[in-house]
């Protein structure tokens, strides 16, 4: 039961072979059995999950209309506000925070009948690439418990890969959905900036953050995108454009498909086993009649540098709200206003968050703003222009999602820069605001998953999903599950 996709779980219920409650119980059992080892979840409320499932079963019995995700257990990254349910962002500063409202995406999921089974672990404030920056514990990669699941949405990725939830939600600021999806052997999407409302998403870098799905396969991803995408007046950057019926067109291959292959994504630092799997994936498309086109993203080698100025500058401003006054941790050391702010923040934020606040504050400070922040914004424009040029020659750009498969715990924790470089292929997508996803495309010899990244122009999710499905239909990587 737990290894099934959301689509299969919906079919089981429709045919009367399983109830939402039976499905939910199966996943709750899996969490009890496995999560001690995987450590994907921050918070699980079994009674609340079972009550939601019972409500779905009651509606079905009465013949009332059911949402598109009715009875499907979903895990939520602990960065999204959930009314009455603790939301920590895996930070000590929000240890006892219980939001008084639901994020837009949570409202949409509840309306769709999804069973909110729990909140998942992450790098504190979504800052990290391994989930080792959680203030609470490190999530493990279900394929090898000695390795990291990727990050920052590592808990949500591990929950789906370990079959402790059928689907899950993450957020992606520089690769935080695509990189863990790749490292855990599942599908992950970063939608176009503005496609999904950020209302109720705890902000990291507001011009880069997007919420997106983790799933076992592309059709589940299409289904989940249909539910969470769309305009919301509460987020002024949410774009008022109709949401295509992604699942309806999914099985239509793109005729005359042109795939842009940027040489910059196949250079130094790319693991040979990863490269081989990506080249194999590209061959699969060629077999189906696609043409590979050489494209160049000449400014992409600068993406990590741009990102660590833009994202930290925005974070230093966004995280100024955690001052111990209205909610969150307040120091017990008595003092004046400024020392209460500073002590609360010094005690409540972890090292990586402090490092990024410092870098962002420096980049925005008087005398340095032009040299760092404004310079980065100009190069950001050049990175976007590169994509505009590339998309004139191709439908999508493809390459590896991450330079290596999952690395070992502790391998990069002492070297922030080495950790940052694990996002080298995912970051430019956020800077340009385009759509991107990762799909499973192979395994290393030591049985670690490898992900193929597909990048598409703004609001081209429909085409991107159809193209992802072309690869999935011809391969079986997405059907594999780790032994746990």
């Amino acid at each position: 039961m737990i290894e099934k996709t959301a689509g299969e779980l919906l079919a089981l219920q429709a045919s009367g072979s399983a109830s939402a409650l039976a499905i939910t119980d199966a996943f709750l059992t899996a969490i009890r059995d496995r999560d001690e080892r995987v450590k994907a979840y921050m918070h699980v409320d079994e009674a609340a999950a079972r009550a939601q499932a019972q409500a779905v079963d009651d509606r079905r019995k009465k013949g009332e209309p059911l949402g598109p995700l009715a009875g499907v257990p979903i895990a939520i990254k602990d960065v999204l506000c959930t009314k009455g349910i603790p939301t920590t962002c895996s930070s000590k500063i929000l240890q006892h925070f219980v939001p008084p409202y639901d994020a837009h995406v949570i409202t949409k999921l509840k309306d769709a009948g999804a069973i909110l089974i729990g909140k998942t672990n992450m790098d504190e404030f979504a800052m990290g690439s391994s989930t080792e920056n959680s203030a609470y514990f490190t999530t493990r990669n279900p394929w090898d418990l000695e390795r990291i699941p990727g990050g920052s949405s590592g808990g949500s990725a591990a929950a789906v890969a370990a079959c402790e939830a059928a689907i899950s939600i993450g957020s992606d600021t520089g690769g935080s959905i695509r990189q863990p999806a790749s490292l855990c052997g599942i599908v992950g999407i970063k939608p176009t900036y503005g496609r999904v409302s950020r209302y109720g998403l705890i902000a990291f870098a507001s011009s880069l953050d997007q919420i997106g799905p983790f799933t076992h396969d592309v059709s589940d991803a299409a289904l989940l995108m249909e539910v969470i995408a769309g305009h919301d007046p509460r987020d002024s950057t949410s774009i008022d454009q109709p949401v295509p019926a992604y699942s309806k067109t999914l099985e239509q291959p793109v005729k005359g498909l042109k795939i842009g292959v940027p040489k910059e994504f196949f250079g130094e630092g790319l693991d040979p086993e990863v490269e081989a799997a990506i080249r194999n994936g590209l061959k699969e498309y060629q077999k189906q009649g696609a043409t590979l086109v050489d494209v160049s993203l000449p400014h992409s080698p600068y993406a990590v540098a741009v990102y660590y100025l833009v994202a930290t500058a925005e974070a230093s401003s966004n995280l100024a709200r955690y001052d111990g006054m209205h909610y969150g941790h307040r120091t017990s050391v008595k003092g004046d206003l400024v020392s209460t702010y500073s002590k609360s923040r010094g005690e409540g934020f972890g090292k990586e968050v402090q490092r990024r606040i410092m870098l962002g504050t420096y980049a925005l400070s008087s005398g340095y703003k032009d040299a760092y922040y404004l310079k980065a914004l100009k190069v950001r424009r050049l990175i976007k222009n590169d994509f505009d040029e590339a998309f004139k020659k191709c439908d999508v750009v493809m390459g590896p999602t991450a330079p290596t498969a999952a690395f070992k715990r502790g391998e990069k924790t002492d070297n922030p820069l080495a950790m940052y470089l694990s996002d080298i292929y995912t970051i430019s997508c956020n800077l340009a605001g385009i759509a991107g996803m990762s799909i499973p495309c192979g395994f290393t010899k030591s049985n670690l998953p490898i992900g193929l990244q597909i990048l598409a122009g703004p609001f081209e999710e429909e085409k991107m999903l159809r193209i992802a499905r072309m690869h999935e239909r011809a391969t079986d990587w997405h059907t594999r599950r780790p032994k746990l």
Partner: protein, 100 residues
């Protein structure tokens, strides 16, 4: 970045860091700044800075009254509460301190 510069930035960021932390931070931030200095290689004369990827500006919504959060809900996460108010350290007169 030397330790005095790091201390100044920490003050601007309202982060109380120990001297040991400041020392580590100086080393790590210097390494990161050295890395981002590669941006200086690029000629960006005449390039418009890009603050966000959207082609939209100044989005307004209709000015319609709607329900807001009830006081009890808004105060539920307050570290210190005084009646219907947040308890905070004195801003002007030390006698007004309600921080603990």
């Amino acid at each position: 970045m030397d330790i005095d510069e790091v201390r100044k930035v920490a003050r601007l960021a309202r982060l109380d860091l120990s001297d040991a932390d400041l020392g580590v931070m100086a080393k790590q931030l210097s390494a990161i700044l050295q890395y981002v200095d590669q941006l200086k290689e690029l000629n960006t004369d005449g390039v418009e800075p890009m603050a966000h990827p959207l082609p939209v500006q100044n989005v307004f919504r209709a000015d319609e009254p709607a329900e807001s959060l009830p006081v009890a809900e808004a105060l539920r996460n307050a570290p210190i509460r005084h009646g219907d108010f947040f308890g905070v350290p004195a801003v002007l007169d030390p006698a007004d301190d309600l921080s603990h």
